[in-house]
Symmetry: C2
Subunit: 485 residues, 2 copies
């Protein structure tokens, strides 16, 4: 590991620096999980280590890092730069994070890293004034291949353009023809390796990543093991259409989610490999793919949990209709949802958004994904080699169990409909009405309607409108008291 100066050419040194920087990133990511204190310290270090690279793209950065050396920080003057409303498409591995959305109880979120990068690169002045919207939230441990946000970023387009706002009285001459900032490249230079910007798009100033999203697609990966995959595929179809999912999600009444009808456009089980090695290999991988307009908190993981129970023949496919029938089953039976790490927000669909690639950048992203993949794939194969080696000597054959349910499996399975039930929606509403966070009003036609009044909590910064709109967004990051039952 020690350095032998004489014998290193510059290119070797450059390679070594690269390798070491990657190593540092990797170690920091690991530490992030293991130690809370390490996080704060880590980021300040990353920032200094990143300054060299961002120099060439960024006067902002340049000034800043120069001043850092002098110890002083001259405020960056945003008022002389145009702003541009853009959409950013990002992918991230959520395994090391507490979820996408910023939370009060932890700093270790994808959104927190994202805003650090936006602030560090002086693309925004602050979150409040950035006109920010996200397409969906993802839970702790959940990844995204296609998360989309909309936001106003610093721009070079003094001449104007789609989504561009040029501040009044700014000297324009000679600046009109400038290329837009390489947003993808700039941000990927300062983001952690497991968060990558894929594309950007100029959009109308009114565009919202949240409200203009046409539909969202999630994938949940799993291995065949001893699951009846055909039965699961048949059962998955039963989710399609518009249903009341209050028994197949975590009811989030406390955040003003009062309406549990959601529309599933498609739900299917597909093999991960187009042409499976041998169709009955218990190690074969599949995914549950579900496309919908919007999802409730923990909805996909609850949907998957039911499919896993059906695949294990512990429940009949009819259990889905039974739980979707909220007349017959107004109260959710207590059950564990599926674990977090196999879930991916795979796609967010928008109409007429003109995505821009930065080809050079795409290769960097592909390379870093490849690098992650190689390590995981090889380790997977090492384990499989051991399993197969062991199965040769074992006297009795064990089946490849399903390890994807939270909590621990019971010796004797208790059918869902015989289990203890959670509170009904009505009693939850009463609970929050008593606490003054919900209000019962008389509707136009005299019937009683419930309205959310907001609360003093980690979501208290949201307006009442936001709160009611929570009904239409994806999963949220919060603890689920039922998840281990």
């Amino acid at each position: 590991m020690q350095l032998r100066e004489g014998s290193m050419s510059e290119e070797v040194l450059l390679a070594r620096v690269k390798a070491l920087e990657e190593e540092v990133e990797r170690l920091k990511a690991q530490l992030k999980v293991e130690r809370d204190g390490a996080k704060r310290e880590e980021r300040t270090e990353t920032s200094t280590s990143h300054q060299t690279e961002s120099l060439k793209h960024q006067e902002g950065e340049e000034n800043r890092s120069k001043q850092k050396k002098r110890g002083a920080e001259r405020p960056f003057d945003f008022s002389v730069h145009p702003r541009r409303h853009v959409a950013l498409r990002l992918a991230y591995l959520g395994w090391e994070y507490q979820g996408f959305a910023v939370q009060e109880n932890t700093d270790n979120t994808v959104e927190a890293r994202l805003f650090e990068a936006l602030l560090k690169t002086k693309l925004i002045q602050d979150r409040q004034t950035s006109n920010y919207h996200r397409c969906g939230r993802t839970d702790k441990g959940v990844s995204a291949f296609s998360q989309v946000i909309s936001i106003d970023l610093r721009s070079t387009q003094y001449g104007g353009g789609l989504g561009v706002t040029v501040p009044a009285g700014v000297e324009v001459k000679g600046k009109g023809s400038a290329e837009e900032l390489p947003y993808v490249k700039i941000l990927n230079r300062v983001l952690p390796q497991d968060i990558r910007i894929l594309q950007w798009a100029p959009v109308e100033t009114g565009f919202s990543a949240r409200f203009d999203c046409q539909s969202r697609t999630y994938r949940y990966y799993f291995h065949r093991g001893d699951l009846d995959v055909d039965l699961m595929a048949e059962a998955a179809k039963r989710y399609e259409g518009t249903h009341d999912f209050r028994n197949i999600c975590k009811m989030d009444v406390g955040n003003g989610v009062l309406q549990f009808q959601r529309t599933i456009l498609s739900a299917s089980i597909q093999p991960a490999q187009l042409n499976p090695t041998c169709p009955n290999d218990p190690h074969e991988l599949y995914f549950f793919q579900v496309k919908g307009l919007a999802f409730l908190y923990h909805q996909v993981r609850c949907m998957m949990a039911l499919l896993l129970l059906i695949g294990q023949k512990l429940e009949a496919p009819e259990i889905i209709e039974q739980l979707l029938d909220v007349e017959k089953n107004p109260r959710k039976p207590q059950y564990s949802m599926a674990v977090d790490y196999p879930l991916v927000l795979y796609d967010c669909h928008f109409e007429c958004v003109d995505w821009r690639n930065e080809p050079e950048e795409e290769n960097h992203v592909l390379n870093s994904l490849h690098q992650h993949w190689v390590q995981n794939a090889v380790k997977t194969q090492v384990l499989l080699g051991m399993i197969q080696g062991l199965q040769k000597t074992t006297t009795e054959m064990t089946s490849l169990q399903c390890w994807l349910m939270e909590g621990s499996r019971q010796k004797k399975y208790q059918p869902l409909l015989d289990r203890p039930r959670c509170q009904s929606l009505e009693s939850r509403i009463q609970h929050f009405v008593k606490r003054g966070r919900l209000e019962q009003e008389e509707g136009e036609n005299g019937e009683e309607t419930t309205v959310f009044r907001g609360k003093r909590s980690k979501h208290s910064h949201l307006t009442r409108t936001n709160q009611i709109l929570e009904q239409n967004h994806g999963e949220k990051t919060q603890d689920c008291p039922l998840q281990n039952l």
Copy 2:
């Protein structure tokens, strides 16, 4: 990713490398503290939970756990128990460890965990008196599916038996028929999850896991990427036979390794899956399997490095003969070896050892391997899904690079034989002769022979005999100054 190539002077780069190396060490240290902390907790948990179960087998354990509750620890009287010389076959995932063999500079080794378990369960009194031998060492990050050790363990066989020594004057009556201790179960209860005992065997008192090992088999897993696997397979054959491998290992003269002839019984490239999905899929996995009597330090990873260069068409297969020809090439060219984590000590071959399984235990081991596998397999598939999704949108197609060489690739490849060379064996010997760790003597026929005198170092506990025998064992855990060049 964060580097502006060609833009830094050498001094700056050297400074950066030093700084980064220090940071890496610092982070590793932090991580180790976290991990050891975590491991220790985990171990004590398992051990206490184990104590309750093992009461029925183990008076020793019983007394001990009772005393634990009283807080006092009465010394365990080993003199009244028979000793039995046994072989233990163990598997471990080496990714989180600094290697198999105990080292002075770290506590994070597989052997350290193993002896903690042997002491905790009172199967041995101490390492010194335990008549311990290991079959092979494995490097930092290297795993084993079939590591074998030989050792004397506490036994119930008062009536004697293969490998049993009954202490003189011990009350035997009524104890003759007892079953042997369930060694596998006892140890797996207290070992970390990533170290598992697979089997045990009673052996003659003279048996040594190290010296009675007939041959050792290593596997190195890799993905096809853009490698020419057929060419690699053809090249691998060139390793077979008896050759001088001084240019294809790390010369370990300092530890008395003076003889570099080794015999390779077989060397091949095989697909990891018997029936590959589609033969030209760059994500297809293979392994290099090499069987030999014994291996030098870092030999397999250097052999693999050459195969990877050949597979990338950076070197011709003939490079192997050229490097095996120590007349023409007495000095090793500087090159990076292959990374550690894909390497597995896959098998150790012994004649007429009667391995005993504990079926119930086998299922536990299989289950924990499955659990590890599921997590890795699913994460691998999540990454592959992202890669495939990205390749749909990318304007230019990138090839799946080879990420298995240490350091990282240079822009322009420099052929091995044109590279700077390491010291020759002779000058290394002179170096250690000067430092008094090697001695030049006159042999019977008047020729000069070199003899190892041991050293004051982390290996100083080894006798001279051990040191000379180092010539015949597997890889050792130590830093390799060349590994990153």
